[in-house]
Amino acid sequence: MRLGFCIREALRSLRRNAVPSFAALASVLVTLLVLGVFIPIVQATTGAANDVRGKVLVNVYLQDDATPADVTRVRAALVADPQVRSVEFVSKEAALRRESEQNPDAYKLLGGTNPLPDTLRVTPKNPDNVLALVTKLAPTQGDGGVTGADPAIESVRSSKDDTEKILTATKVVKYTTGLLALLLIVASILLISNTVRLSVFARRREVQVMKLVGATDGFIRWPFVLEGILLGAMGATLAVLLLGVIKVALIDPLVSDFALLAAPQTIGFGMLVGVLFLAGVVVSACGSALSLRRFLNV
């Protein structure tokens, strides 16, 4: 009965206040559409950046005469290090095989010799700590020379310049897109709640009259909030439909061509739709309730 009243009131008011209702609906629609396009882009970009960062490695080259026992010992020490995510062993032979596949002519010249050392490929937990890890495994001595932390370590290398460049570039990309996303979300909330506030403001006299004939605050508020929910839901539905069209018509055919679009970290479409829908409804309902508060204090 009470819910029925709220629904009827909300529908009446949507029908009779078509212009402000449309403005609120349009602002929900537009912001959700922009967010819906932007969120996957941000995610794909950060995903790609993380991929690149994940490729930052530390190569620990062992002495030429390292025994399998040495290998096991060094490997165990590395695995135990809290900064290390994983360690991969590449034997002299495996290294030679791989290199000669990539560069057959150069390795033909070497004949049967194998100049490559046994290598432990270390993936650090956090790519930002790569350089610290290098110094720890091969500390610089007082005379400027470098000695391995373990006698079996011949040298430790990460392509220092490349690593630094990759780290800075990906960091910049991540922070910029993150900041943009944050700004966009704030702007969306402000836009929706302002539009809703305007449409409530346009009806403050109506609220005053309702109070004069003895309506309680709740009696006035709930139809307004329901109206906000309906507007948010309608705007969100339209936005979601449009996003679906964009996905099917534009993105899906391109996925095979662009690795970025197929990045695995991108939010699922269903999840995205759910988040956007909920955000639209909650923001516009809260916007209605909060804007109304001022006018209820009569």
Binding site: M1, F5, R12, S13, R16, N17, R205, E206, Q208, V209, M210, K211, L212, V213, G214, A215, T216, D217, F219, V298
Partner: protein
């Protein structure tokens, strides 16, 4: 409670006798027979000196009272204090013997349901039809749809709007809109009806109809307080007149005119010789002012 046609049948306003015994004006503390009682009520606005200045008076249940005075004399301030849209700076306001200053914020809507309010600018809800505007005053009380559907057309017929049920306010003349406002104010049969310049926006002919309607409502026992500029109307109806000037009450006259006049000794004697009127308003189950004070 059915307000039947015969209850509301219009009497000739000019032959209606003053219905107030001056001996009953003595102010008793919290007398529930007083529909309204003000005790030294003052209210100032930030920008001007006096909205209302030490106003004291009492209105008996069932009275019809005109509130007159120039623009800015404080009539609307008094009305807004009674509606509890404003709080007095000092003094107390009693309605039906209860101090409305004691009402908590949550109780105010329930208090207001016992008031009918009519304004110069009608204050109708623009997005509702005539029927729905009147129905809203019943909906706020939680009345069921069926009962509302039977009550609203009745009251609209009494106010002469039977054919306009489904019009929106902007499709009506000023006089018709004010009739809707009065229908809405009266549909709950409130014990007290406040009208702030109800004819201020209307031409003289239309005004007469509106004032007759208010008078008919008064005849059913509802106390009516009308703030007005309309000297003609006040002089014709010869009801009690309270005059304000710069927030002060400067005149309170039974059967008064718009302009100050001395009551002749003969007239006053005639008044006293009349039998004291029976209580205008029998205790009525619908009269639930007191319920507004219940927690």
């Amino acid at each position: 409670m059915a307000a039947t046609e015969h209850e509301l049948r219009l009497r000739d306003t000019r032959s209606a006798q003053p219905q107030l015994d001056p001996r009953m004006l003595a102010v008793r503390p919290g007398d529930p027979a007083n529909a309204i009682e003000l005790r030294n009520v003052s209210r100032t606005y930030d920008t001007s000196k006096a909205g209302l200045n030490e106003a004291s008076f009492a209105v008996r249940r069932g009275e019809f009272v005109f509130l007159v005075g120039q623009t800015g004399s404080g009539k609307s301030t008094l009305m807004r204090l009674l509606i509890k849209e404003l709080e007095p700076d000092s003094g107390s306001i009693l309605v039906a013997g209860r101090d409305i200053g004691e009402l908590r914020r949550k109780q105010i809507p329930f208090y207001r349901r016992n008031l009918g309010v009519v304004f110069q600018d009608f204050k109708l809800l623009p997005n509702r039809t005539v029927h729905d505007n009147v129905a809203y005053a019943l909906q706020v009380t939680g009345m069921g749809r069926r009962e509302i559907r039977s009550k609203v057309p009745d009251i609209l017929r009494l106010t002469g709007l039977a054919t306009k049920l489904h019009h929106y306010p902007d499709q009506l003349s000023g006089g018709e809109q004010q009739r809707v406002a009065i229908a809405r104010a009266f549909v709950n049969h409130p014990p007290l009806l406040l009208a702030d310049e109800p004819t201020g926006n209307l031409d003289p002919e239309t005004s007469i109809g509106i004032m007759q309607l208010l008078y008919r409502i008064n005849r059913t026992g509802t106390t009516v307080l009308v703030a007005t500029h309309d000297a003609d109307m006040v002089d014709r109806m010869r009801r009690r007149v309270i005059e304000l000037e710069r927030g002060r009450i400067i005149r309170d006259e039974l059967a008064g005119r718009y302009a100050p006049s001395d009551v002749s000794t003969a007239e006053f004697g005639a008044l006293l010789s009349e039998p004291a009127p029976a209580p205008q308003r029998a205790p009525d189950p619908a009269d639930d002012f007191d319920q507004a004070f219940v927690d």
